[in-house]
């Protein structure tokens, strides 16, 4: 491989990984923007999305995945779309339920109390994922090793789009990530900018009390935020599973940490910030793996983060907040 090829390849991987992180980061940043809660459980909601996806794939069976033509030429894409919607709705609903049961009663409690409750929820979800991994289905290995990582079958054809002779590998799944994440991001931006509910969200983020006084049903706005954040997390879990071909009950930990980092790097509360932050982290990881050493990648990622925050204390795209008097 020539140096240019290597660079191009790392660019592809960095962007693909980064887009997934960005999608998870949006869920963090939206919730934070509205209720100032670092939702530690978000990564684990994402994990359960992955498990649901694998379950659906297992129920549909090999035929739906491997044999094209059941729904015409584009059956793989339809399946992917179906999975994104299913996991999205599931994770959105789950997030909504968690908000209703756990966070809502604590809304007036100190912020750190909510944080610890979120940590508790995270542990509970990890355990649910562990049990789910023991489901008696072939895709889960028949339930013999619940804790083991699960192989996720290839949904999109795995050959190199640039031809077998090319050193640079670009696969359908790389394209799929962009095909799914970019419309979602555009949709979200439009939603927040143009709709009534979106306006309610921005108002609540700005000042929840004033928003309430202006007649905005903030509880409904918060619920919607959890729902949408969860939906994006669910969509991300599908793309993550399709891209990495593995799911495990602890996968939400790193995904969550990366996404949280991305959200802060971009400026927490800022939607474009989360996107930029996610992509940036993906790229830094890829480049550090290649040009430094994998063993130092985490150090590089967090070192860059700290440096950026020293010079831009509100993140890359965060608004400089005036200190409240």
């Amino acid at each position: 491989m020539t140096n240019t090829e290597v660079f191009l390849q790392q660019l592809i991987y960095g962007l693909s990984n980064g887009m997934i992180i960005a999608l998870v980061a949006l869920g963090y940043t939206m919730v934070y923007g509205i209720v100032e809660l670092i939702n530690f459980a978000h990564g684990d909601v994402f994990t359960l999305g992955g498990f649901l996806t694998l379950t659906i794939v297992g129920v549909l069976g090999a035929a739906a995945i491997i044999e094209p033509g059941a729904l015409g030429e584009s059956s793989h894409w339809l399946l992917l779309l179906g999975l994104v919607i299913a996991a999205g709705v599931f994770c959105g609903g789950l997030n909504l339920a968690i908000n209703r049961i756990v966070y809502k009663p604590l809304r007036s409690a100190p912020k750190l109390t909510q944080l610890v409750a979120a940590i508790g929820v995270s542990f509970i979800l990890v355990n649910i994922a562990l049990f789910w991994g023991g489901a008696p289905m072939k895709v889960f290995g028949g339930g013999n090793a619940a804790a083991a990582s699960k192989d996720f079958p290839e949904i999109l054809e795995g050959s190199n789009l640039l031809g077998d002779s090319s050193n640079v590998v670009l696969r359908l799944e790389d394209i799929a990530i962009f095909a799914v994440t970019i419309p979602l991001m555009i949709g979200l931006t439009l939603f927040v900018k143009k709709t009534r509910l979106g306006r309610g969200m921005r108002a609540t983020a700005q000042n929840p009390i004033a928003a309430k006084l202006m007649g905005i049903d903030t509880d409904r706005v918060i619920a919607a935020t959890f729902l949408i954040g969860g939906f994006l997390g669910g969509a991300a879990s599908v793309m993550w599973s399709v891209y990495n071909n593995t799911i495990s009950f602890q996968m939400g930990f790193r995904a969550g940490m990366d996404a949280f980092t991305a959200a802060v790097l971009g400026g927490i509360g800022s939607l474009p910030g989360a996107m930029v932050g996610g992509v940036l982290i993906g790229l830094i990881r890829a480049m550090s793996d290649q040009y430094i050493e994998t063993r130092w990648t985490n150090v590089v990622v967090f070192g860059v983060l700290i440096l950026i925050l020293i010079f831009r204390p509100s993140g890359l795209l965060g608004l400089k907040q005036r200190e409240k008097v």
Partner: protein, 343 residues
């Protein structure tokens, strides 16, 4: 005037009760030997010391720190390098612990100096990142830290004429408890000192504090350094207890999270509360859950055939559920300091 009076008392009543309670746990072991409480008791003490360090930063100064384990790791490794026979220093237990604290303070200062002007959650992610950096750094700098192998053996506490070893866990526990008592004493004095009042002022309203002539950055930096020093002492004590620094991965994000849970569950800002939190959380993790699954096992309930029937597989669930329920019903923690504001 409360501040002036308290200068004369070593401990508050609550602190005395908790310290006394801890001191009497070996008696429980005599009464109910099957519980074997003396084994995890040292972990309660070390966790309490780390959490007291965190409490200074989170509870009193209002800065969210998600990387306290990094300072415990630095303390443990400093202690290891300064005392282990394979390094040339071999300063012994007490100097090792003290110097580990100094290393922690320096690291806290180093991290804090450029980053403390960051707002709450930005600082949180910086500390989280620092935790990852320290962990990976310790892993990768094998020439100095022995990488994942861990540094061993490490000295136990030593006093003239008294022997400490793994065969005298109770005696060892009392040595640690004495160190905890000193830490509590220091914290209590800090709480009512000029510096302590500066921290509270900064936590409540930074701008107002500045108007009163307090330099928030300096106060925060001191909180960071002192908190880090205590965490490092806790780390050094863990290393001494294990006679090994263990792997760097032992001082991971989960450890920081446990320390945070101890502070919040126990009662943020309250020294007594933090100690209670340590008893509750470490008790849950190291005593209640193992004993619960063990007794189910001994009673012949559950089997290893299936993930759902093995009691061990419910530990995450119970741990998480306990956290959620405690927050739901005691949102201000078990011991409410009455001082922490709702932010």
């Amino acid at each position: 005037m409360a501040a002036a009076t308290s200068r004369f008392s070593l401990f508050s009543k609550g602190q005395l009760v908790v310290l006394g309670l801890l001191a009497s746990t070996p008696l429980i072991d005599v009464a109910m030997p099957t519980l074997r409480l003396s084994a995890p008791m040292r972990t309660v003490v070390t966790s309490a010391i780390i959490a007291l360090g965190l409490n200074i930063v989170v509870g009193w100064t209002g800065l969210l720190n998600l990387g306290i384990a990094a300072f415990a790791a630095l303390g443990a490794y400093a202690f290891g390098i300064l005392t282990c026979e394979i390094y040339p220093f071999q300063v012994g237990f007490w100097w090792g612990v003290l110097l580990a604290g100094a290393v922690g303070a320096f690291a806290g200062w180093l991290l804090g100096a450029p980053t403390l002007r960051l707002r709450g959650d930005y600082l949180a992610i910086v500390t989280l990142g620092f935790g990852e950096i320290v962990q990976d750094g310790l892993k990768n700098l094998e020439a100095i830290t022995k990488g994942t192998q861990g540094i061993n053996p490490l000295p136990a506490p030593s006093l003239p004429g008294i022997e400490f070893s793994s065969e005298t866990p109770v005696r060892w526990f009392y040595a640690y408890l004495a160190i905890l008592a000193v830490v509590v004493f220091l914290c209590r004095n800090l709480e009512f000192s000029r510096l302590g009042r500066q921290w509270f002022a900064v936590r409540e309203d930074e701008l107002a504090a500045r108007c009163m002539g307090i330099q928030p950055d300096k106060a925060k930096l001191k909180a960071f350094a002192i908190g880090a020093a205590l965490a490092a002492v806790g780390g050094a004590l863990i290393a001494s207890q294990l006679s090994s620094t263990g792997e760097p991965a032992n001082y991971d994000f989960q450890m920081s999270i446990l320390a945070l849970c101890i502070v919040i569950v126990g009662g943020i800002g309250s020294i007594t509360g933090v100690m209670v939190g340590a008893i509750v959380m470490v008790g849950l993790n190291n005593v209640v859950l193992p004993i619960a699954t063990q007794s189910l096992q001994n009673a012949g309930i559950g089997s290893t055939q299936n993930v759902l029937t093995s009691p061990d597989n419910y530990k995450f669930l119970l741990f998480g559920l306990a956290l959620v329920l405690m927050m739901r019903y005691r949102p201000d923690g078990i011991i409410h300091s009455g001082k922490a504001v709702r932010k």
